[in-house]
Symmetry: C2
Subunit: 405 residues, 2 copies
């Protein structure tokens, strides 16, 4: 695996999947905005969705299709440029029609198609434009790096770059490949894999096994990061397993290798998403230590990660630890400020709730790097959590003040 | 009373208070940064403080002095430019020394002095500089509009203007005056009067009576507003009553007049603080209706008011109601999206969780005004709450990325 935040050089294409993408004119820019994956017969699936109570039509229908097919999926159709959310019954009907058209073009049942949408909320999906392009899209499916790359491009909205991660391991004489493709740069918030993530593998596994591994990996990665604290209405992480490697997810060795590879892919994609956060100049890794438990550590991490004053200080590479301390004090955890210590890239800046003499030029230089680590010790117990977040820049405001109008 | 957000023309000086301010060199700019109020013998007091677990030295000592003196105060000393927070024992000693010096100069006990500080966290108070200026400050106390204006100026940090509100009412042959002076523009968040607010009156009242009225008025004003969602470590609202009007806070008529006047002053100051929020171009008044109860309505209001995507949309005067709906869906209240309606300045933009046809140019024009009202109906009950908040602009980021370095 490459380091988080860095895209990988070697991409392994799992067997059993082919990709296609084109422009259906949903984006005014004319860029790629419609993408398809065709999976071979027997492919199993598991998914995680947003916890927002307001969910987009494709989330409702994707959940429904997975249930109806008991975790067997044959295609994924994604559009960018329109979230098909808060669009009521017409939105559901539009999504159903896209699934029907896709199924028709590929010779499948509509329930075997998993839909996703990302983009603006509250605008009806241009369903005719999309439907007209589905046959061409289906005909273009190829199991190649090129078409996979086009798929990764087509699902982007405000992303500035494609997000890919891949891994391969041996099991006996066979090789198992995993490939993750993600999009996401705004509305990134923990509590759910708040973005679109598709992970493909050619291992053979039951939907239940996939669901277990996907939840484990997501809890340690996508649920421990935040760009802006907003929870999307469309977030989806989908794991598809074609079985084409001939290797079954069984036995402790193959299981360990698979879960390590999956975690690595989720880590890499999570890192890439945060690093490509809207307007982000600095990625901050928070380590919260000495909490009573992991939940408490995460609560403190989120309070710090969501404080506008903390995030704007980071934008200025300002080692203003007082704002971090104030955010901790306000988060509801009964912290004793006199036991809190804060470190910036290994240098102690606050001991027992009080500032200590430190090299502020060095701290400023550390915070000026693309990535910096901040450790907070609470003096309450042995719970800990890591959390990846970002600064908040004028560029973020510019992007989001101008996005829809 | 003038409208919220607008400073008043007529300022009534309550009898029994004199003011003074000077530059002690705490601010590098050389601006006024040290201010004093002297109150006459018999003055009663009540205060509300930040709920942040990290509190500044003056908050600890102010609370302690109020308790020791059983709500009788004779002086208030305020410095800007340094919060004296996260400064440990030396910070407490510095604050105690300032109180001692002030008491010495005015012939009081140190416990009769109420201290406040506002500014950067984690830097030791330049106590010698301040102590050296206290005699001059004490000697300069005058019961005049001019010196009161200087006091209001001296407590400012990133504020762009002074914040004053005043009221007067008759009770029998006497007149009772109230005067509020506030500072605050960053770190503005509900749950506590998150700023420095001093309210002076010449009515005669017990500390207990004052505490009751102050809490009532604050709950409806300072606790229902937010600029950036950050809770300060130094927030203080202090109400002082000299008794010099000869009118006692007793009987239903005087009590009603007083509580109305106090509420009006708090409303005006809260409005002025939000309107002067860092980088604020648009003040948004949220009305959350049809919640199960007021607490639930406030929870929804805060979720909307703290969403970066919502706040940045407002910066662009963008009627992107989908972001409001997404923020409601993520806030933890079990809202049924299909029952939610949203109005921008009286125009329905979302009905039953779905966008409706609306005049988007008109909505954009409404949101381009300095002040705009957004109503959200949840369809859950008859609870309601009003909440005042702001947009988030590039200017906010600029101010806060550069504040301390």
């Amino acid at each position: 695996m490459s380091a988080p935040g860095q895209p990988q050089n070697t991409i392994y294409l799992p067997k059993g999947f082919s990709f296609s993408a084109l422009s259906a004119g949903i984006k005014v820019s004319g860029r790629l905005d419609l993408a398809l994956v065709e999976a071979c017969l027997g492919t199993t699936a598991a998914a995680l969705f947003t916890k927002n109570r307001v969910v987009a039509a494709p989330v409702e229908i994707g959940r429904d299709h997975l249930a109806k097919m008991r975790g067997r999926m044959r295609a994924v159709i994604v559009n960018s440029g329109n979230a098909n959310c808060a669009t009521g019954k017409p939105g559901l009907q539009a999504c159903e029609r896209i699934c029907r058209e896709t199924a028709g073009a590929l010779g499948l049942k509509p329930e075997e198609v998993f839909p996703s949408s990302t983009g603006i909320i509250g605008v009806l999906l241009p369903v005719k434009k999309i439907a007209a392009k589905v046959p061409e899209l289906a005909a273009g499916c190829e199991p190649t790096q090129d078409s996979m790359g086009q798929f990764a491009q087509a699902i982007m909205t405000t992303d500035t770059r494609r997000k890919l991660a891949s891994a391969q391991f041996r099991s006996g004489k066979s090789k198992v490949s995993l490939l993750g493709i993600a999009k996401g740069s705004g509305m990134i918030h923990p509590q759910m894999a708040t973005m679109l993530v598709y992970i493909f593998t050619d291992i053979a596994a039951s939907p239940k096994e996939l669901a277990h591994h996907l939840r484990e990996a997501s809890d340690q990665t996508f649920n421990c990061m935040s760009v802006d604290g907003d929870m999307s209405t469309n977030d989806t992480v989908l794991l598809l397993a074609s079985g084409k490697s001939g290797v079954r997810l069984t036995g402790s060795l193959a299981t360990k290798k698979f879960s390590d590879a999956l975690l690595g892919i989720c880590q890499s994609l999570a890192g890439q998403i945060v690093a490509d956060g809207e307007g982000v100049r600095h990625v901050i890794h928070l380590s919260i230590e000495q909490a009573q438990n992991r939940q408490e550590a995460l609560r403190v991490a989120r309070a710090i990660a969501h404080s506008l004053l903390v995030k704007t200080a980071w934008a200025g590479a300002d080692p203003n630890w007082g704002r971090i301390l104030a955010a901790i004090g306000a988060c509801g955890v009964p912290v004793d400020p006199n036991r809190v210590s804060i470190y910036i890239e290994g240098q102690m800046v606050c001991r027992g709730g009080v500032g200590c003499h430190f090299d502020s030029l060095r701290a400023h230089a550390n915070l000026s790097q693309p990535r910096c680590e901040i450790v907070v010790r609470l003096g309450r117990g042995s719970g800990a959590a890591g959390f990846t977040t970002t600064d908040l820049t004028e560029e973020y405001v510019r992007i989001n003040a101008d996005y829809s109008t």
